[in-house]
Subunit: 291 residues, 4 copies
């Protein structure tokens, strides 16, 4: 940053930022969408079978393993990309000649990916026969979200109002996700928490794209970063992103349920029975709620 060619630095900085928004955006969106398919499927499968945790197919254990492996892989790719892009730090941290740090922004992003790779490693270890304490995978994921939020928190100072505001909105899904995942350490396999975490992850992914679109618009028309009206719109836009994330999770849940109904042999019988006894079932549900 101690460069005299300001215009060049500016472009470089923008590229770093655009990459830094689209890449994690895609990763989180992908992770969230995977979860939004996996968790409802698993939950519906369990709920579908009368007393049937025995029959949970091996496939679901494999999915956890694949999820962990992919998390490590993407985090590794992220670290490498941040370090070895042409304008990256190439694993140099301090430049003794200019007495300055080298590309700290890329290093911070690498650090963020590092913690997600730790979460992936713990996830894979949990699946292994090693005696990893139950819930440690959720704790590692919660820490990864928390560290991401911490790095962001000290990242948004000294910027124009709209830039600060649009980055601040990320705190809701990031710290919210960290808190929800921490709760999951103690309340494992709670479908409500899992769906909420999924929504928060999708929201985070789509919001990274929104930040990219606002700060580096594709049509080239710059947003006024000082206007209060733009700030108001962004606040509202964030809520719409959340609504869409909830809708996606809802649709995937419904599709998961249909899928389990179809695949399972006894599905159709049960469904007919359910339609018939809906009113008495409601009273029954009512009772079971209270126990």
């Amino acid at each position: 940053m101690h460069n005299s060619h300001f215009s060049f630095v500016r472009v470089d900085w923008m590229m770093a930022n655009f990459k830094g928004h689209a890449l994690p955006g895609s990763c989180f969106l992908l992770l969230g969408l995977c979860w939004s398919v996996m968790y409802p499927l698993r939950h519906c499968w369990r709920r579908h079978q009368p007393k049937a945790r025995q029959k949970l197919p091996l496939f679901f254990n494999r999915i956890d393993l694949i999820e962990g492996t992919l998390m490590i892989f993407f985090a590794f790719v992220g670290i490498m990309a941040e370090q070895f892009v042409p304008d990256g730090p190439h694993a140099h941290l301090y430049n003794r000649e200019t007495q300055s740090w080298v590309k700290l922004m890329n290093w911070q992003h690498s650090t963020m990916y590092l913690f997600f790779s730790i979460a992936g490693v713990v996830k894979v270890l949990t699946m292994s026969p090693l005696p990893v304490p139950l819930g440690l995978d959720r704790l590692a994921l919660s820490l990864a979200f928390f560290i991401e939020g911490l790095l962001f928190y000290f990242h948004v100072h000294m910027r124009p109002p709209l830039d600060t505001h649009i980055h601040s909105m990320l705190f809701v899904p990031v710290f919210g996700g960290a808190a929800i995942t921490l709760l999951e350490v103690f309340m494992r396999d709670n479908i409500v928490l899992e769906l909420l975490r999924t929504s928060m992850t999708i929201l985070q992914g789509s919001w990274f794209f929104q930040i990219g679109f606002v700060l580096y618009p594709l049509n080239g028309v710059q947003w006024d970063l000082q206007a209060h009206d733009n700030t108001m719109f962004i606040t509202m836009c964030f809520c719409w992103h959340l609504a869409v994330a909830l809708l996606i999770v809802g649709i995937n849940y419904w599709m998961g349920w249909c899928c389990v109904q179809r695949c399972s042999g006894r599905g159709s019988d049960i469904e007919i029975m359910m339609r018939k006894t809906s009113s008495s079932k409601k009273a029954l549900l009512e009772e079971s709620d209270e126990e």
Copy 2:
């Protein structure tokens, strides 16, 4: 807002605000009062019958359904009203000619209502034979309160001290309500939490009216929005609103109990028995507390 006729804009703005305070105030007050009747009735009914969750009348299930339907209806009316009042945005978000956003305040209120309508939809779905996970209705309601608080949080900047203060007091019932409802996801049918949520909702409704009365006084005498004394009075007034909300919930609880006593055939016998054995019952209660 980029209008040259300032005096006209001012009036328009005030109308938007008065409507924006009285309308949600009535909605929340109505919702809170409904709950303050329903929850005590249901709780007392359950407690009254010896081992009697079987006999919970169908009526209570219907009430949940009606509550959800009404929530959707009112939220829909709210969205329509905010959009299609004469000075509303009429579903236009961006004016390409003036290069500005159209009536963002109305759009924000619409967004708020949108999340309450989502909460209503989830409530209705929970009552349906669809396999909605238990507690999702509370989560949706919690999110609706949270989004309301988030929109308010970025709504109160750059105003006179008293205006900021009186709006800030809303954070207590709004974020408090969101937190309590989130707790209810995990502690379903806990009467203490339900009564607290009810009180917070009534408080919120009555406080919206208080804001309307202070910022747009009916007798036309404007409040001094800079005076520290007024700020002190408003803080205290908020506590009184809470006290009144607690009193209303308390009275409705007592009336609900009396009602259940009367309606039930065995009510009188049990009451006599209770009066007689009050001292031994106290010791008994004492014991059961500790288990």
Copy 3:
């Protein structure tokens, strides 16, 4: 406050403040000391008897009743004192002639006492044969602490640094007490929480006296309200108050245990047995911890 005789107003203000610190200080200290005797006694009594919740003497139920009654009484006295002292508002809220609020500080203190009287009423109702939901007494107490903290929060603006700081320290016992009491709604009769609440209440009482001593020193030597050193000392002094509060609770707990040992007939036998089997008992405790 819109009085031209500034010197007179100053004295009056100081008196109001001194009274406002010594009176609640005594009340909280008394309440905390009562609890520090009652809770250990009750806990030790229960623990002492082999399977003995049946034999909890009626006396402990009475104590709850007395506590509630005293809380109502003191809160009533507090309200009356704040209203009808010579320089109080005498139940006048608004002076139409000067167009100003009358003695808002006294009104705020009355409001604070009002919520403690509500907590007292709920406590008494819980002891009555009425069907008050379990845990409502703790919720009312938690709300009373919370309202006290809320009033204080908007009370400490625009003062010299030391004054603001010494009042801010009160937030720890007040909001801490509110949070602990809220936890007790769900974890009733947890001795650790009860002792912590007791310590917080004693700390609050003693800190009110400390505020009085610092802002209105008895020896007449005014403290420098701007000096950073004084602020540092006050922070440290607060920690010492907490240490002393913990010590008092610890001593009372120990005395309660001794008392129960003496009073109970089987006390001595059990004690001998315990001393003998201490090492095996430790291993036993160790095991029961994990269940």
Copy 4:
């Protein structure tokens, strides 16, 4: 501080600070490393034996006792060191001649040690045959962390940006540690919480050293306390410390497991059995998660 020889005071201040960073750093690091060996060993031992809490060796009870005693000893040494170093306050709090407080920084550190000594005393008492309520030792430790954080919070004002920032990072392990330890009051012997607390304590210890290295560099090259780049590096560095702390805890956990496997007679048999049945075991684990 009211000394005219400014250059002398400066050196003295720096010494006080360096000591104040290296000494607690070593203590916390030692405490954290002890825990990182003890907790995994105890957990693996328990998990290893089929239904075997009976056989938990006496050694583990002794370790708790030793831990408590060492905590008291180190806290006592800390208090004495802070008070009676050549430039310490020598137990004088107020100098009547200069009308100023004596070495408040040392007094604050003494206060911090005092609360850790209280935590040690409660730990020892819990091991004794006295009827200390279960969980009180964790509460005392949580309070010690909280008081440490509180003292720090009012300690970091009015310093250069980097100095404030590097001290602020301590809030994460300190208040995080306090929150985790508070949770442990209610969830005793939860290995995930214990490992997290251990990591936070190691992080705190290593971060104290980092503060020392940055503010009082050994090679004599002063850091620029105003540069934003340095602040960014420190944020990232903090994350790396956390990653290393997690790694240390992970390695110690793995070594603890190996150690228990070797020492126990039946270890090898079980391991062989586990390797064989790993896939069926995974499905089994899967099931038990849901109960």
